[in-house]
Amino acid sequence: MSESPHFLQILVQRPILRSSLLLAIIAILSIYHLDISLIGLGDMFSNLLIITNDAWPPDFSVLSDRASWAYPPCNLETDWMCSPAVLGMTQTLEIAFLATIFGTILSLPLAAASATNISPPLLAQSMRQLLAALRVLPSLIWALIFVILVGVGPLAGVLAMTMYTVGYLGKLQYESLEGVSREPLEVARTMGLPRWQVARYFAIPEAANSLISQMLFMFEYNVRHGSVVGLVGAGGIGWYMQYYLEPFKLYDRVLALIIVMYFVVIIIDQISLRVRIRFIDENELVRKSKWRGLIIPQLDSSDD
């Protein structure tokens, strides 16, 4: 009887214990509600053993053998250039690149319209809802939708990734635009410039370093997720994985493709990180304009 009040006293005094207890209760209730049983875990280990036996060692013929069944067909002479790994990875990079470019072009005006320091509150709120709606569906679901709409192939992948990019990048962009200094925008407003000119010539150039850094981050993200959309037929390396998985269950080749993808993603991440640091390094005494000439080249060359 004497221990119970003591325990409660400790619980009241230490907020971390209270929070931990609350989280533990929610976790137990969730497991109970989802009807999760440990039998599933037993199945997982036995299946993992079967897959590991089938997958190891990885079959790197995916890097050398011609994929005659590739879509779109590969007409190059060299076999390794038409191999599933090279074709799949090239397609994934191309899908990611196109989706990032199209996504950025579409998201930038939407982001400017969503930024409360540029747009009227009602328009900003509406545009934010639109961007949130685009983000609700993950890229995989967008891929399923576009495979139904435009058929199997890289086009569905590009469209799916573009839609997701617009929603995700748009949010990052409007947050950057809202963070720009108030004074250049006030100078523009006092001049009587329309909102789109305030955004184009004052807010976007002021936030340009962040915007470019975000675009590169989005490209990295799209390369990683480009493999997933292929699983539902939207092109890229995922499509080649799916080919080996169903109906052949060639796990050794799938593992080889995963290893290739891993190394490509690591390389892309490293390159992107190094480039992004040039735009986001706040420790520089003078942060140079790295983006000049990319967005408004004509104005820059006007005074020579």
Binding site: E183, V187, T190, I296
Partner: protein, 242 residues
């Protein structure tokens, strides 16, 4: 020329929607080509007064008229602002920032495709030369000194050539020679026909180049006496503390 009012402010209360007005019953009339200084202690509402006249903060009551028209009817580019931190686009060049002053003159095609006209380029080049920054034309403004950045802001106003320029402490923290150069540039803007309303924290300096000096005191905007000694005294013992 000096008789037609560029700005008339009648019984205007200034402040923010929630809370008491910062400044009450402001009455002010600015003539063409005038340089009018506003002094007062920090936090009294000088910047808010300027932002209200710029149309960035709505007046709580009263009437603001630009050349006899409501603020919503002001032609593009007729009012220019030089904020305290200058409002330059930090990652862009001197040329770009000065050219921004010509943006109100650009037509839709020119502004959508970023194709400034020859006249806009020429006026930019002239303005940059007149503030002595020709060799810095392609330098990012964040690589310039404070004084040079102020000259860029003045050059932008020159290109814009507005009827009314609102300048917020653009002479603050400058050495004597740089401040003198800046005053000359401000005078040249007025000589070109712009009316200048400038917030200045130093009443003695304000008297040296302003046609009139007004002081924010309590919650009122009052016209300062035309006596430089008294102004100096106000700054030292009263003006700066009230």
């Amino acid at each position: 020329m000096k008789d037609s009012p560029i700005l008339s402010v009648c019984s205007v209360d200034i402040g923010f929607e929630r809370g008491e007005p910062l400044i009450e019953d402001v009455n002010l009339e600015l003539k063409s080509g005038e340089i009018v200084g506003i002094i007062g202690r920090s936090g009294i509402g000088k910047t808010t007064l300027l932002r209200t006249i710029a149309g960035l903060v709505p007046a709580l009551s009263g009437e603001l008229k630009y050349m006899g028209s409501e603020s919503s009817q002001v032609t593009k580019g007729e009012i220019g602002l030089i904020p305290q931190r200058l409002g330059l686009v930090q990652h862009q060049t001197v040329g770009y920032n000065v050219l921004m002053g010509a943006l109100p003159q650009a037509n839709f095609f020119q502004s959508i495709f970023s194709l400034p006209s020859t006249q806009m380029r020429e006026s930019t080049r002239r303005a940059v030369a007149s503030v002595g920054l020709t060799d810095k034309m392609f330098t990012s403004v964040n690589q310039l000194s404070g004084g040079q950045q102020r000259r860029v802001a003045i050059a932008r106003a020159m290109v814009q050539n507005p009827k009314l320029i609102l300048a917020d402490e653009c002479l603050g923290e400058l050495d004597i020679q740089t401040a003198r150069d800046m005053i000359e540039l401000i005078r040249s803007l007025a000589e070109n026909g712009s009316t200048i309303l400038i917030v200045e924290h130093n009443p003695v300096r304000a008297r040296t180049f302003c046609d009139r000096v007004l002081q924010l005191r309590g919650r009122k905007l009052i016209s300062l006496v035309d006596d430089i000694e008294e102004s100096s005294e106000l700054y030292l013992i009263g003006g700066a503390n009230q």
